[in-house]
């Protein structure tokens, strides 16, 4: 459990999936923290000082020491506060969890982000590519309630990006990237996630989040040539 003297601060953004991952992990561990909302369109000197390499949120500051990159932060949290483990104990299972987490960020997230900027046939191609990737997660969920297996863990925390960002954005963009007929297991998994208190508490409230996404999409469209 957290020491009384621990000072934990999170530089984040309420609508960022990367920042929410950290809130989920800290909440799961029962670690109290201060949250500092950042404006990434006008970066604070503090952010630039704490993450000079990427200049991105989230940054976790633990007793004055900064850590950035959400997957690195999640591992740090699990190494530091060992109650309610996030990663499995077995080395092979750990490697698999790391593999799928990386897959969500480097493949699914990168590909899905392209859907927004494209139109027509090009968009169709990106949607198909995203679905091909999601099919791997669908298969991972065969006979499992969570991506972590019987209980909620590292990959589930990371893949909230699919459940609550990708799947909320698709409604607004108007392309069903993850239709229930094709991805029944992913849809069931999202329902399972919604039963978990920490998740309910730590994901952005739906209405506010949808209006935020809508406003962003408008801006992006406006910018597109």
């Amino acid at each position: 459990m957290a020491e009384r003297s621990d000072e934990v601060k999170l530089l984040g953004m309420w609508a960022s999936p990367f920042s929410r991952r950290i809130e989920i992990a800290l909440t799961l561990k029962g670690v109290p923290y201060d949250f500092s909302e950042q404006d990434i369109t006008n970066k604070s000197p503090l952010l630039l000082q704490l993450n000079p390499v990427h200049k991105m949120i989230p940054v976790l500051v633990h007793n004055g020491k900064p850590i950035s990159e959400s997957l690195v932060i999640l591992e740090y949290i699990d190494d530091t506060w060992q109650n309610n483990p996030i990663l499995p104990q077995d080395p092979y299972e750990r490697a698999m969890a790391r593999f799928w987490a990386k897959f969500v960020d480097e493949q699914i997230c990168v590909t899905a982000m392209k859907v927004v900027g494209k139109i027509g046939e090009e968009r169709e191609a990106v949607v198909e590519a995203t679905r091909d990737l999601l099919m791997f997660l669908e298969k991972e969920l065969v006979q499992k309630d969570f991506l972590g297996g019987e209980s909620f863990g590292f990959v589930d925390i990371v893949a909230t990006l699919v459940a609550f960002w990708l799947m909320r954005t698709e409604e607004i963009v108007g392309v069903k990237v993850v239709p229930v007929e094709k991805f029944p297991k992913i849809h069931r998994w999202v329902k399972n996630l919604m039963e978990i208190n920490v998740i309910k508490k730590c994901i952005p409230p739906e209405d506010e989040h949808l209006s935020y996404i809508r406003a962003r999409m408008e801006k992006l469209k406006f910018k597109a040539p």
Partner: protein, 219 residues
């Protein structure tokens, strides 16, 4: 039961080099299987269906993909000899951060040096030097990235060293005057048994690069 360890790899791969070196640090014998990436074997497709890339580490029949994940797996599976990640959580986080930086930033810059031409290549070169300088300042006056002992970040980066000569020829620049400390670090690492054993000779890589460029339609 004796461990059966197989590595699907390709000799000039800086990712594959990581895994070879990590296994050697732990004194684990493995069955090295060279792969043809332009005509992928069924074992590669079966063991890494998601990315279809080397290196794949197969331990007692079970595949682990992604070289940085393999280093952690090796360290966790054979923890006693030569720990590769530090034991302090904050130091571990730093090591992982730099490993990720090397994959996301350094690799994509080098990809432009060998896999592009003209302006794009020039940009890759500039970016690469900037990134090496960032790494050099992280290294500072330490012997290795983790301090006194050879470990995760050293392993993540050292494979690129065998390509330095090839980058320099292609981009017409020299690395050592720009990054003296990093160059000294690389030479220090190259003396280590595990690295000496598994890093290919620079001239061999330099000869291979034009072949590679031809294959991807650049020359």
């Amino acid at each position: 039961m004796a461990d059966e360890v197989i590595l699907l790899d390709f000799w000039p791969s800086m990712f594959g080099m990581r895994t070879r070196i990590a296994l050697e640090e732990k004194n684990i014998k493995f069955d090295y299987r060279e792969q043809d990436l332009f005509n992928k074997s069924s074992i590669l497709l079966e063991m890494n269906p998601v990315h279809k890339k080397i290196p794949v580490l197969i331990h007692n029949g079970k595949p682990v993909c992604e070289s940085l994940i393999q280093i952690e797996y090796i360290d966790e599976t054979w923890p006693t000899k030569n720990p590769l990640l530090p034991s302090d959580p904050y130091q571990r986080a730093q090591a992982r951060f730099w490993g990720d930086f090397i994959d996301k930033k350094v690799y994509s810059a080098t990809r432009l040096i060998w896999g592009a031409k003209g302006e794009e290549q020039e940009e890759g070169k500039k970016e690469f030097i900037e990134l090496l300088k960032t790494l050099e300042s992280e290294l500072g006056d330490k012997i290795y990235f983790g301090g006194e002992t050879f470990g995760y970040v050293d392993i993540a980066l050292i494979g690129f060293y065998s390509w330095f000569e090839a980058y320099e020829k292609l981009g017409n620049f020299s690395i050592e005057p720009e990054c003296p400390k990093l160059s000294a670090w690389a030479k220090r690492c190259a003396q280590r048994e595990s690295v000496a054993k598994f890093l290919p000779a620079s001239d061999k890589v330099t000869k291979f690069v034009p072949e590679l460029r031809k294959k991807i339609g650049l020359e």
